[in-house]
Subunit: 348 residues, 2 copies
């Protein structure tokens, strides 16, 4: 399977996902600006993956800093933090990764600047490695929700390509297959950027998990035929009350699931859960370039100068969500506060 | 505005809608086979428009027939009827048009073969002209459902391009604008063939009706914002019980409307209502080439050999439909039987 991001010889190597599946090409980032460009231009995308990219971008940016002491080092790191933070607003993972890197530095300030540069590289690599483990754990919890014979619908790509590896929403699918369960996946193509068609279908085919591609607007008709047993999607940010921001179209899919009495699950690593906000209303929704709607693969498909809307995400209220699958277990949205307590007081 | 189909100098001239909006080109059909090809390949599409094309195809096919008497003429017309009937299964308008042409011939058999050839041309032109009048009447009835300030969502293209002119679903919009009402239209792009992006957006912009293009999967999020007041779509076939077949995605849109308490209207000329079938289950759903999903504007957007579903239509059960707007008035689905009675016993 493709590796979406790696630290190679002191540089960050990204798979350019914007060109998949037609072209498999890698981009080597020599500086944090290139990492930020990669996040903005969707060479790398997916909340956990851009969290990892953010951490690697910070580590990369730190290497070039010359500073006499810790305070100067931190001051010179600020532009790195803010360049990366400003790339994409919806996924909380970027802020999560930067906070983690910053807190680590503060906790180890006595090590000295040169040593801290190495610490940052190690931490970024650790975040990547941990992410894969988290997804495997999500896979083990989520797998229990899947019966042999089930057909699972998913939206966008919350797969290996959206993470360090293994995937959040695809985690339970991979584990189910590993456990010998016979499953089918329906992948929504996910306009406008087509991550379902370009990435999820590609990734599952590569791994021999049976997948069928549909356009987003076919989901309802296929549910009405009784062909879907459950939905599993990823998320860019979960609010404290269980509201979920995810790729545009997730909300519509959740409503279709409700109407057809199909369980709707969200796979979310803790790094995507934002306990600091009370509800989905507080999640900023990125509006992207109208060209993503009016052009596909460089070809214009709409009238010149047509007015366009292009919100990249939507918020699915907690009431449409059957449960959230995390690396700490499966929680109903209304029980997410228990997870918060568990994290804050790990002994209880 | 473009004319989707015309009878010109003894030939059928079609606008090639498959190339809009990038290229405006016309195709002249010299024989009925070319008309059938145009229907299959979506040079012309939209239930009323392909009904008109079917009638013109029959008229065109008839001109080349050499027959000594009426029975021979009818026998030689059979291949014409069946070639046109077999083009596309879902819209009932093709069968409706052919039945009308056939019944006309049977009622005028004494005129003789040469005269009947002229009668067929006149009838095909009459069907085109009537269709425009029907749409204007639908416009007058439907306009009453629209308030100034309303935003209307529509799916696919049930506009001037899908009909003889004026449009079924766009009829009420055009009339509302003519009446001085201030309206906005949201056009779903309508994957896979993108009739919303390529045709509806184009047609409304040309006629200065404010339109905003969205991808199909944005509809729910925009409804949640409170931005949509009503939905009006067209149809390929309405069953006796008010179930409606229309472009894939219509069913999902109707569910989203229900969830957001938004009225969902279907504009349907009598030529699209099939009183011979009791429910939507009896409507054949066309499955089209998977390339419509895997390629856009000639560019591949999915993995090679990916498994694909491509039902071109879905059925929206009557319970999701607020009312059906016809040229005989606005009917709740459960009252469609009254319309049937009205047609069968015009005096009552």
């Amino acid at each position: 399977m493709f590796k979406p991001i790696e630290w190679v010889n002191g540089k960050v190597r990204m798979l350019d996902q914007s060109r998949l599946p037609v072209k498999v090409s890698y981009i080597t980032c020599n500086d944090y600006q290139k990492v930020a460009e990669g996040i903005k231009k969707l060479w790398i995308r997916g909340a956990p993956a851009i969290g990892i990219a953010a951490a690697m971008g910070v580590a990369l940016g730190a290497q070039k800093i010359k500073a006499k002491n810790f305070d100067e080092f931190m001051r010179r790191l600020e532009p790195v933090f803010s360049a990366i933070l400003s790339t994409r607003p919806t996924a909380v993972n970027i802020a999560w990764a930067i906070k983690r890197m910053r807190n680590l530095l503060l906790s180890k300030k006595t090590l000295g600047v040169e040593k801290l540069k190495t610490v940052l590289i190690e931490e970024a690599k650790k975040i990547l490695k941990e992410d894969i483990e988290v997804n495997k754990t999500i896979g083990r919890y989520g797998e229990k929700l899947i019966k042999s014979g089930d057909t699972i619908i998913t939206h966008c790509n919350a797969g290996a390509l959206a993470t360090g590896g293994y995937g959040t929403a695809t985690g339970p699918m991979r584990t189910a297959v590993a456990e010998g369960k016979n499953i089918q996946v329906i992948a929504d193509e996910t306009r406008p950027v087509l991550q379902g068609a370009r990435l999820t279908a590609c990734e599952l085919m590569n791994d021999k998990i049976p997948v069928t591609l549909i356009t987003d607007n076919m989901a309802g008709a296929i549910m009405k035929n009784g062909e879907i047993n459950l939905a599993i999607v990823g998320t860019d940010r979960v609010a404290r009350n269980g509201d979920v921001a995810n790729k545009i179209g997730t909300y519509s899919l959740a409503i279709l699931c409700k109407e057809h009495k199909i369980p709707f699950y969200v796979a979310a690593p803790l790094s995507s859960i934002d306990f600091s906000i009370p509800s989905g209303e507080f999640i900023p929704i990125e509006e992207r370039d109208s060209k993503e709607v009016t052009h596909i693969a460089g070809k214009r498909i709409a009238p010149l100068n047509v007015k366009v809307r292009n919100p990249a995400f939507d918020v699915t209220p907690a009431k449409y969500i059957t449960a959230i699958i995390t690396e700490k277990g499966v929680f109903k949205p209304k029980d997410l506060y228990k997870l918060q307590r568990q994290i804050q007081n790990p002994k209880h």
